[in-house]
């Protein structure tokens, strides 16, 4: 099947022709009885996995099953922040692999994912914050990840709205800046991967929930779904907050707990906010979308839940912090808020690995920070499924690390929010 290629010229040409003739971006596929491999979960990670399976590993008789609609889960609910300034070597390799793929993703997919390396600035408010931030900066630099220290004046020059006065409860003492970090358009990531995978023959099947996983002596045999039985010897589960539920169908237990994580946006305003600002100590995440809304990330709720909604006081806590850091925002009205369900591991690092069931693979545990990893995660998960062994980058991110004591404890590396 030939896909329309996007370019400036094609846009002008279609515009002159009253925008007639644009094609659907992917087919509405019906499930076939048998595939070589099936990906469960049609978010960015799952669609990307299917794309790389087809594009790099030549597996084209594959399908992506999505119980709702493409990109309707956490891919469409996150705050689109991209960075790779993680403390440990394993994490830095993983997230920087992803960041390097973001830089060329629009060209690779012929789809504008609007990646914008506008810089991610993480604020320090206490002496402890300053020490930990500097430790991160040195560790990142040893791993080839850019990160630099800014004093309060330099931080204000980078983000002029920032209040660096000493009239707030936790004054800004400095900031760590990753200039290569930034944002991307989350929906475009799902749509771009779906379109590119579809063009390589991948079936994208929406409204198809997995209700059972059949096993035989060789391992995975078939998936029971709301749209019938689908045979496949390789199944990759990329189901975010529902990973425990899906893997539970095959009798695999995971070290995960699923929490609601909320975000909100303000009314749209003219461009005033040039970067991403994060503060872990007083919990604020803010950036401005190309539509003009301030995109604000709140924390997880206190309890496990699958409701995709959370409590207002969690949002208020974040807004309190943002109003102190950016007094200009106090009179802004908030437009909407929502929640997603995030699967959190004990060490706040993901799992991209084989499971004890042959032919069954899992990509989960991204917690509150999976969007930034979308291309790298998908790329490594496809490798793991195609070759039945992990890529060196994701080799440490197993389920067995919890048994063997090789945690990648970004949870304890406290300057990193997840």
């Amino acid at each position: 099947m030939s896909k329309q290629s996007f370019s400036g010229l094609s846009l002008i040409w279609r515009g002159l022709n009253r925008h007639r003739g644009w094609q659907n971006q992917w087919r509405k596929a019906a499930p076939k009885p048998r595939y070589d491999a099936v990906i469960v979960g049609g978010g960015g990670h799952g669609l990307g996995t299917a794309y790389y399976l087809a594009q790099e590993h030549g597996l084209t008789n594959i399908a992506v099953l999505e119980k709702g609609w493409i990109g309707g889960g956490n891919t469409g609910r996150n705050t689109t922040i991209i960075r790779s300034n993680y403390l440990f070597n394993e994490s830095a390799a993983l997230y920087d692999h992803s960041l390097r793929m973001w830089e060329n993703l629009s060209q690779a997919l012929n789809y504008n994912v609007m990646f914008s390396a506008r810089g991610v600035m993480m604020l320090a408010h206490t002496v402890h914050d300053v020490q930990v931030s500097k430790r991160h900066i040195h560790a990142n630099r040893c791993n080839g990840v850019d990160n630099e220290w800014l004093d309060p004046q330099q931080a204000k020059e980078f983000c002029p709205l920032l209040n660096i006065g000493d009239n707030i409860r936790y004054p800004v003492l400095g900031a760590a800046l990753q200039r290569r970090g930034g944002t991307a358009r989350h929906d475009a990531v799902a749509w771009g991967y779906a379109r590119a995978a579809d063009a390589l023959g991948v079936d994208i099947i929406e409204n198809c929930e997995v209700t059972g996983i059949r096993r035989d002596a060789r391992g995975v045999e078939a998936l029971e779904t709301t749209r019938g039985l689908i045979y496949a010897r390789k199944v990759g589960v990329s189901a975010a907050g529902h990973s425990s539920a899906v893997l539970g169908l095959a009798g695999v237990k995971l070290p995960l707990e699923s929490f609601p994580l909320q975000a909100l946006v303000s009314e749209p305003i003219k461009p005033i906010f040039p970067c991403v600002v994060m503060s872990n100590t007083i919990h604020a995440y803010v950036s401005q979308s190309d539509k003009g809304e301030l995109v604000i990330g709140a924390g997880t709720d206190a309890y496990t839940s699958y409701t995709q909604r959370g409590a207002l006081h969690i949002n208020m806590h974040t807004l309190d912090a943002i109003c102190e850091l950016f007094p200009n925002f106090r009179r802004l009205r908030m437009l909407r808020n929502w929640g997603g369900i995030v699967d959190v591991t004990p060490d706040r690092s993901p799992i991209i690995a084989k499971t004890p069931v042959p032919g069954l693979y899992v990509n989960c545990g991204w917690g509150t920070g999976g969007f930034k990893a979308t291309p790298g995660s998908a790329h490594l998960f496809a490798w793991t499924i195609a070759r039945d062994e992990p890529h060196p980058i994701n080799a440490p991110f197993t389920i067995e690390r919890f048994r063997d004591g090789y945690l990648i404890d970004e949870a304890a590396a406290a300057a990193v929010a997840h």
């Binding site: 237990k253 070290p255 707990e257 206190a302 309890y303 006081h313």
Partner: protein, 91 residues
């Protein structure tokens, strides 16, 4: 915000409570006798139930007591609360 029925104090807003995770996890009597797999199961593996979940809460900014609750994680409705050390009620 949830209204949580503390078995000692009655319904109180969620901000008075801390969540204590999955209930009825019993620390093995002889941890040294466990192999690594069994110890990892105790430390890290969780049911992460989608549906009716038995969990611990503590009324931290109230009576200070721990208690157990059954909550439907697909709706956040509390179905029952019961005291620590008592078995999970039938639902």
């Amino acid at each position: 915000m949830l209204l949580i029925p503390c078995p000692y104090c009655g319904e109180r807003p969620e901000i008075e409570f801390t969540h204590g995770g999955q209930a009825h996890l019993v620390r093995p009597a002889q941890p040294a006798d466990l192999d690594d797999q069994a110890w990892a199961e105790f430390l890290y593996m969780r049911t992460n139930t989608k549906g009716i979940h038995a969990e611990r809460w503590r009324h931290a900014h109230g009576c200070g007591q721990f208690f157990n609750a059954l909550r439907d994680t697909t709706t956040d409705h509390f179905l029952a609360v019961y005291k620590i050390g008592t078995p999970r009620p039938a639902t």
